[in-house]
Amino acid sequence: MPQLHDVDYTLEYPYTRTTGPVIGPFLTGLRDGRILGQRCGDRVLCPPMEFDPDTFATLEPDLVEVGPGGVVENWTWVAEPSAKHPFDRPFGFAFIKLDGADTALVHAVDTGGDPEAISTGMRVQAQFREERHGSVADVYFVPEADAADQVIEPGDEPVTITEHLISLRINEPLYPHRARFAQGLLDGKIIGQRSPVTGKVYVPGRGYDNMSRVLMSESDEVEVSDVGTVVAFTELNPVQYYGQTETEPYVRCSILFDGTDQPVIGIDIRDMTVDEMRVGMRMRCIWRDPEDRSVEDIDNRFGNVPESVYVRFEPTGEPDVPADELKEHSW
């Protein structure tokens, strides 16, 4: 059996954050080259907070400039920065109590990569980046002696909403039963798993029978028919979200393949309209030529019988199965 691909994709979304009455001015300040703290009784909190951390009272916005100098209260060293860290060379993360503030800000200290150049009690100073967006990453800190004088041009509008591309890379091998199912599709076969307890056939198999709570393995696998019955369908008008590539309406249906007890869901039909579909309709899979089949979209959670293995599903012309007989397969 050829080696199947690993699951490898990046889940990412450009989330937004509403900054509100206290954090908004703080981020606006950073963009404009100033660090602001929030008054809370006789203390100044930096980073600012919306609520008094001791009494939980709402803090009315009352911001005051702090820094740009401050003292390292404690620190840790990042010897191997990742792509999302603020520097591409080793640096320190430190608790920095800025001049005029009563609480410490956690931030990055750049010593040119030298771990010997950071210490508790040392003085540091804020440096602002050339490109600023109203983000906590607009600023960083250096040892006071290394600080350069900066002239910062303030921006126009206050920062009220920020955008953050948050991503997570998923890289894992296909589970063995998923890999055998995917290989079956490449071979033009639909592989299911027959429960050793109930005899029910699941397709695709999950590697276990969730009703009887027993494992199912390769020895429980059976090839099932590629002819089946439509048990449910709708027409999707694709919602246009980040990463969506579908633009036109299409039919999505569930098909109960002959000899199975659970429908395969999410089968897409491009050449029939919703009015031409019926619950109970008999359909057969018209496979792509073997060299045109792909199972790239199959991962450990999604991907049942993807379009990348079939040309279309076509009606067999057999009489419909009465809908009443499909009541317990209505997904």
């Binding site: 109930t198 979200y241 007890d261």
Partner: protein
Amino acid sequence: MAPRPCAVLGIGQTKYKRRRDDVTLDGLVREAALRALEDAGATFDDIDAIVIGKAPDALEGVMMPLLSLCDALGAIGKPIHRVHTAGSVGASTAISAVNLVESGMYDTVLTVAYEKQSEGNATWALSGGKSGGQGAGGTFAPWIRNYIARSKAPEHIGWMVAVKDRLNALKNEYAHLHLPDISVEKVRESPMLWDPLHFLESCPSSDGAAAMVLGNDDIAKKSGRPPAWVISHAKRTEFGQFPGRDTVRPQAGVECSEALYRKAGITNPREQIDCAELYVPFSWYEPMWLEGHLIAEEGEGWKMTDAGDTELGGSFPVNMSGGVLSSNPIGASGMIRCLEAANQVRGTAGEYQVPGAKISIGHAYGGAAQYYAMWMVSSELNPEL
């Protein structure tokens, strides 16, 4: 040992909106909490424990939100719990809070649920971040088609529900959608999203939070606020997919309502319950849940809708507040159902009050219609049925 009686003593909601661009997520959640405290005549000092709920973290991309919400909810030095059961989470959260009071562990509990949908995209999140996602509407539409085929319901039923809930919402200042010109024609002519569901038969995407203060019988007596006694509650779960699953009338939903009614001694829900807030994110789920939760016989739910029984002023009003069809901060939507049920039996529902409502239910479902959470509240601890 019998459970301690538990009552809703304060409720609080934010205005539901497409985007609340004036507050942070923390500020939004806190707004509802402060209103619930005010309504209960309480402060954070009176709270013994906090239970929060929201839908999947992927909706806003904030992992473990309870970390930052500790400050906003005055939870420092107190226990905070987070509940998660997909779309039903708001009701599951409320019930989890009730459990803490009934157990005798805590006297007064604050429970809050929320979503700030504008910070992410629900369909993206429910699609695992991949193209070709069908979202909730695309998942439920085939089951709705099967319900229609099975029950022989006429197609206007869905349109009627869409109009009824939006007209109710006009009486609720907190509702997201205020559509005074809504009509069956407008619903029918609105774009088809997931056949047979039109745009106006679908819930909006909202920012918002809802909160309640719950207390035991001693606290209820001291508070002097009108109590909504939680006289019964139930949760049930089933697999999303298994051989023999009936997605139109899920077994877990039937069993959840059976358990709810049994505990309260309800033998005829249609007659003994005055009104209900059911989780109806897509119009057709009103008749589907009337049947699936045993308020109507199988195949008869749509006839209640058709006859106007579920209207405000009908014999069994449903979603007096405007329902999920009018406001949908997903994680909060189930809690809003529970909160609005309490609002009715406390007699505080204002323009959408059902006169004399004594017993009401709040309901939510989640996932692939596989998680159920329901509660029953009454103006009396031991109501005569």
